[in-house]
Symmetry: C2
Subunit: 256 residues, 2 copies
């Protein structure tokens, strides 16, 4: 049984990639075979884990179009038990390539199905939009982790995101569930951050992870070293926080 | 003669909306009739200027599809001389609606052309992607302001952005120019921010605006009051910085 998690939020810069990388790495460090899928044409999850796509190999683009098996696109990472399906800039064109297809939201689901049960967890990083790539994630996964930056604009986008999730649940993926909302980049010294956290707790209650990710410069330094923060600086508060988040994610996945 | 500026960067959360709002507001506060166009379905530029779209009126969505004149979509804001063309959630569907059209990159240009010379400046806020909405901006404007967050991932996306601009210049909009790159959210205390700023200066030299926007909590508080920071707290450092940026923008527009 593979647990499939999508890390989504159409608001830009809220910590999707940072969460996807460090959650996947923390799961792998516990010995759980984990796959990180980079479905964002920007490719930040690919470079943030230090993976360099091998030229000439099939990519996620061919796998989505059914032109190559998903298994051919997998790369090892520097973290034991962590595999990565790297991004491809051609993902930008997926919307156009799949326009004529009947079931345009199916390709990612088909690609992940073809991998069978070789992974305990699959974590998918989404681009900042609610277009076809994110729709493919909403169809393919069972659980969503929603990073919410403790800023005003981040609050605004949540109702649209929730509506989109509901319409997917009543249509193409009835099993879809929100595993939790994760407060990110929280600067405890500012009133704004406290107000936003309170607002999110008021609306979403237990759906909000107890773990909160504080603003931390170590998190923004790690990508330039091509490493998740949990291996770049395992003892820093950000690594502890992502470790705590991982425990919550495992517990919630096992409960549902 | 109307100066048309696009504020673009496919990386999410780098300060596009914050820059578009405060640049447009600062231009208006100098008595220059200015239009802020919100081409992001998230609608942050609309709410960040406190504009509430009137029900029943034509929106930017109809204007792009040629079903209503752009002039019908304009709203006043709380800032004198600043008009806003509010966003519409249906912008998400523009990619699908325009798929069959020959010249899918033309609609925004046609809509702005129809406004004639009533504005001295038009500032367009882009979504975090290089899809059809951003392509419409690249076709319709003459100048680009590119916010660059002082973070590692923000550097990664710049080469793709530059390639896209070049291909537009050699195709659908030969007049397109990069007015400048704006360093945003700079925390002078961290090495990372200094390294990123140095890297950007090394690559882009004079194209980088002298003005740098430091990280400032006032900037993230202002949207919850529905106001640009330049009116919410005119004396704070962030407002001064956006004022300085506006002087640079006016000078560069007049030189080109
Ligand atoms: N808790 C944190 N503290 C400080 N910086 C952070 C934190 N989390 C992420 N960052 C940094 O903030 C920036 C945005 O984070 P990230 O790229 O993960 O967001 P995203 O939602 O994936 O963005 P996009 O919408 O472009 O995909 C990155 O430069 C990252 O290194
Ligand atoms: N200089 C700054 N200091 C502190 N916070 C800032 C600064 N500039 C912007 N912000 C805040 O950071 C967040 C991201 O900024 P903004 O929404 O303007 O980016 P964007 O590029 O428009 O994002 P998107 O890609 O989602 O459209 C917002 O919550 C904003 O209030
Ligand atoms: Mg990302
Ligand atoms: Mg924005």
């Amino acid at each position: 049984m593979t647990h499939r998690l999508g890390v989504i939020n159409q608001k830009g810069g809220v910590g999707k990639t940072t969460t996807a990388i460090n959650l996947a790495a923390s799961l792998a460090l516990r010995g759980l075979p984990t796959l990180l899928v980079d479905l964002d044409p920007q490719g930040n999850a690919t470079s943030g884990t230090g993976v360099v796509r091998e030229e000439g190999r099939a990519t996620i683009f061919e796998a989505l179009l059914g032109q190559a098996p998903a298994a051919d696109t997998l790369h090892d990472s520097s973290v034991p038990h962590l595999s990565v399906m790297p991004s491809d800039i051609r993902l930008i064109a997926v919307e156009r390539e799949l326009m004529a297809e009947e079931r345009r939201e199916e390709p990612l689901c088909r690609a992940l199905d073809s991998l069978g049960d070789r992974f305990a967890y699959i974590v998918v990083d989404a681009p900042p939009s609610l277009g076809l790539l994110t729709l493919n994630i909403l169809r393919a996964v069972r659980h969503l982790v929603i990073p919410v930056q403790s800023e005003y604009y981040a609050l605004e986008g949540l109702s649209l995101l929730m509506e989109t999730v509901e319409s997917v649940r009543s249509g193409i993926n009835p099993d879809l569930e929100i595993l939790g909302l994760l407060m990110t980049m929280v600067d405890g010294r500012t009133n704004l951050a406290r107000q936003v956290v309170e607002e999110v707790l008021r609306h979403f209650g237990d759906k909000v992870f107890r773990t909160v990710i504080a603003r931390s410069v170590r998190l923004s330094e790690a990508p330039s070293h091509g490493q998740p923060v949990v291996t770049y600086d395992a003892r820093c508060p950000a690594s502890q926080a992502y470790g705590d988040l991982t425990s919550e994610v495992i517990a919630r996945c096992n409960m549902s």
